[in-house]
Symmetry: C2
């Protein structure tokens, strides 16, 4: 037995453990949960840890698959695979942001936040000098000028006097934006990823770059419609302010929760970065969204916007800054830009593709400095919408289906089945395609037409629903969970849209699928999806396994990078300005590719 | 008879007139009033006009006294003195600003305003490009970035669509600050001089630099006290917001009035510059003023502040900018900086002094790049406060008193006498000193002690008030208007404060009064005061007449310069930062000088 030390969000945690145990097992014994959507199988790559000191057993196959030489040299390991050899210190925080960056670009995330907090002892005023309170503060800062507007100066005289001249100045770039009484050294930031469904906030210490807290919540705008179109409709009908208040309220609760978790004060959160799709971005800022709903889908603004938290009612430091990532177009938003940033687009010669499947499916590809992006209407089906018993990835959702060698249906948390989520639907379709129950053209065979050699356990599940064939995934507590012929058609349409989008994007770069050096799957869906199933139905090309990587919430990682470094913001702006946006609906070649992609079969990765 | 053409604020006005008439007489016949506080005697120099074409009779003595060779070459003349010889075109607008500047610095007021309005035809959005409305506007502007904050972008999409892409962009520096629907070419600005008692707004066309309107009004904060201290008290008691609303309301009415006069729209006023004493500046901006009332009289801010009109509720263009001139200290405010700017401080080798008597008396002096300023408590007595029958310069105020060769008492507009204003009080004291009725030490002789040679009409007016001697200035409708012994004492204290301030300022520069090359008397008081009387009691040094110049509202002229050119703002900021502020109350030498200055006798201008 020896002692293993974890550097976790809550501080150092020590645990006695034994050689041969995995880091993840030791962490669990210490009450620390690593993120492991794949269940510790070494496939998702999400349980990254960093070895700070001590030696572990050398990395095995799964780790070598997921981690590059630089990353290994940097101490990165997969927590579920890395086995302990003796006393060591293992870091759990701030690992992912660094990783996605490293993976993207092979360069460190240089810490250069947009704001800094400076503790001052302001000189006593004298009768002779005549200088104002503001000027005595500025004199201590040297070279910093006052930000336009009155917010800074109104409360400054009281702040300067409250604690005998001890103040904390908030400086953004070279502008003084706030002065508060007393010495408050903490300078925190929150990177916010506003999704249509969920909102995630990452709390970072802007002096060390460490992530110190995290919180997520449902986007309460969902009360006005799950999808973008109904929210745009609500906003157009005068509900814009209401939608804005909902999302601001959610972010304020994330701020509170993450700060409570980290033992920090919300008023020490001095900057926020925000990513989200163009519609979420506009609703948060109170910008009109009506033009997003109709051709030609024009955003109010695509540039990066800078504002104060006060302007939209965010409950952070009273003068906290907000940096909103740039959008590319109406349906390629700031979240896509953040994904490209985190994925190191524009920094590698090889062909790199990122696919982010959320409410929409964004496909982005870069080769050298050439970057192309498009949005496809692939999302809803994969999020469970339009599927008869579809549901989001929640307890009771069928997320894994195997029909060979035997029927296996797995639900999230092992709860009784109540529906199927995206990864389960793709698994089911892929398995049915492999067995010939669903033909390449998407037609589900009727019970009578089934091949004789089909294993009985599978054949038994072929049923009829309203006169059409359907496959019984599970009996379920609330009734049978069926995958109907119509569901297969919906999945097929979604798959075709995404695959056609990828094909058009590759055509635009003059590349074939086989040239893809890295295919990054962003978003929760990218983590949960079974890559082999996705390849079987042609959702993603048939690339060697090592080239496909789930990268988790890359949009959130991009938002964190922007929070840590203004150079990353400049890069995000260059990416947004430089990306060639393809509006698929106006391109005849998209419809050709779409028709091709309707076939449920692997996309051969020719020409490697 | 011939036709004379005036270029006036309301446009061209023609009038038939005859040779030998003065410009002022012809203007009056045309319904145009020239500013002539001295009543057309050629002493105040305020009725400046500019000969645009045609010949006038050559300038006479008063004109040669007031106008330099450069000014005459530039076509400047005194309207009350210049006589017509034949057809001519005479400009009445934009003359004073140009004059004060020219007088100050001998260089043109280069037009470089802080804002510009750009008329755009924004390109139609296309499905392919994906750019937002904001970006299509920015693309037309080239090199202009969006201002931080959301104000610009919120209404931009609607503005772009309202008239098929025809918009007017408001650009401040290199930032887009506003976009409004339709083509509105006018870009106006208002220079506002916020006095404790009166507020003046000058409406300027920022494309031509011409003054197109002007309005003035009482400062309605007076409802909470005539003086600064009572207003500070009201603000400290929670009335700050109320005081702010009052002054904002006044400025909004000036905007309306001046725009109506000029036939312009208030929403075309795109920028304002503001000058005023430090307290007025703070109250307008809603900054705390409590520290201004107690030692060491610390302002909240002395730097130049930039804000949007919206922030304080000014009813101009919704995104109009506001530039607030820098202050120097608690009692040397932005108005003093504006006076220094308009007076060309820092641009001349010779010794130049400016005195601005308002609520306080500010004394500023410059020699080469060395600039010194102080504030003295000289104002109230000269504004009529503390004087038993004192009043402001209004109809019925005694403004001129002559006792030799005969008793002459003049009231403003010839109305029945109801009190005495500053110029009348100084005249009266000076005349009484000349006759020996008031001794150099300020003591007023009793009726019994009067010299026998005193003319009877004067001696008759010596009366008693509560057992002390007093001089009957006029019978008045509401009772006798007396100048009491106590009034003389008040005037003497005020005079001593101002003269001592000037002496300390000159000492600081190592200069004697005789070295003053130009003594500029700013403010209304400087226009109305009889310079000979002021010299007699030692209020100002005994300089050759040509060296003393009333320059009218120099603070307002400075505000106009700042409105016309951002370089002037930079210069104002350099002046404010470079001026050496003398806090008289902490200087022993001030009390020495004050004691000297108590004597009511001329200050010899030695060492010329």
């Amino acid at each position: 037995m020896f002692t293993l030390t974890f550097v976790a969000e809550q501080g150092e945690v020590k645990v006695a453990t034994a050689p041969g145990r995995t880091v993840m097992e030791a962490a669990a014994a210490a009450g620390l949960a690593l993120d492991a959507p794949c269940g510790g199988r070494g496939t998702c790559g999400k349980c990254l840890v960093r070895v700070i000191s001590g030696e572990l057993e050398p990395p095995g196959g799964e780790e070598l698959d997921h981690l590059g030489q630089e990353e290994l040299a940097d101490g990165l390991r997969l927590g579920c695979q890395a086995r302990l050899a003796g006393p060591a210190t293992i870091g759990l925080v701030g690992v992912l942001a660094g990783r996605v960056l490293a993976e993207g670009e092979g360069r460190p995330a240089e810490l250069a936040p947009g704001v800094r907090r400076v503790l001052l002892q302001v000189a006593e005023p004298t009768l002779e000098e005549g200088r104002g309170d503001l000027e005595r503060v500025l004199a201590e800062l040297g070279g910093v000028r006052v930000s336009p507007g009155l917010a800074v100066v109104r409360d400054l005289p009281a702040a300067v006097r409250a604690e005998g001249g001890r103040v904390s100045a908030l400086v953004a770039g070279e502008e003084l934006v706030g002065v508060s009484a007393g010495h408050h050294p903490r300078c925190l930031g929150m990177a916010v990823d506003v999704g249509t469904t969920t909102v995630v906030g990452y709390l970072l210490d802007l002096e060390t770059g460490e992530q110190v807290g995290m919180a997520s919540a449902m986007n309460e705008q969902a009360a006005f419609g799950a999808d973008l179109i109904s929210r745009i409709g609500h906003a157009a009908g005068g509900g814009g302010r209401e939608l804005q208040q909902r999302i601001v309220g959610v972010i304020n609760r994330l701020l509170e929760a993450a700060c409570k978790q980290a033992g920090e004060r919300v008023e020490d959160v001095c900057e926020l970065t925000v990513v989200g799709n163009t519609c979420m971005h506009h609703l948060l800022l109170g910008l009109p969204v009506d033009n997003l709903a109709a051709m030609p889908f024009v955003p109010a603004a695509t540039s990066a916007l800078r504002l104060s938290a006060r302007e939209i009612g965010l409950a952070a430091h009273p003068e906290a800054r907000v940096y909103c990532f740039p959008n590319v177009a109406g349906f390629v938003g700031a979240d896509a830009v953040a994904v490209m940033l985190a994925s190191g687009f524009g920094h590698q010669d090889g062909l790199r593709v990122a696919i982010d499947i959320g409410t929409n499916g964004e496909v982005m590809a870069a080769r050298g400095g050439e970057i192309v992006a498009c949005s496809t209407a692939a999302g809803p089906a994969f999020e469970g919408a339009k599927i008869s018993r579809g549901m989001r990835a929640a307890p009771g959702a069928i997320d894994r289906v195997r029909l060979t060698p035997q029927v296996q249906v797995h639900t999230i948390e092992g709860a009784p089945a109540s529906g199927a989520c995206g990864s389960g639907i793709i698994d089911a379709v892929a398995e049915l395609v492999k067995l010939g129950v669903v033909e390449e053209n998407g037609r589900m065979l009727s019970k009578e037409a089934l091949p004789a050699w089909l294993p009985a356990p599978v054949a038994e599940r072929l049923v009829e629903e309203e006169g059409k064939p359907a496959f019984l995934l599970a009996e379920g507590e609330l009734g049978p969970v069926l995958l109907t012929a119509r569901d297969v058609r919906e999945a097929q349409l979604a798959k075709a849209a995404l695959a056609a989008g990828l094909a058009v994007v590759l055509d635009e770069l003059g590349a074939g699928a086989g040239e893809i050096e890295q295919l990054l799957l962003a978003g929760a869906f990218g983590n949960y999806i079974d890559r082999r199933s996705a390849v079987v139905i042609g959702l993603i090309p048939d690339l060697p396994e090592g080239r496909i990587k789930p990268v988790g919430n890359a949009a959130g990682a991009g938002a964190r990078l922007g929070l840590l470094s203004v150079r990353m913001r400049a890069e995000a702006e260059r990416l947004a300005a430089g990306v060639r946006h393809l509006e698929l609906s106006s391109r005849p070649d998209f419809y050709d590719r779409f028709t091709d992609a309707m076939m449920l079969r692997p996309v051969p990765a020719q020409g490697q």
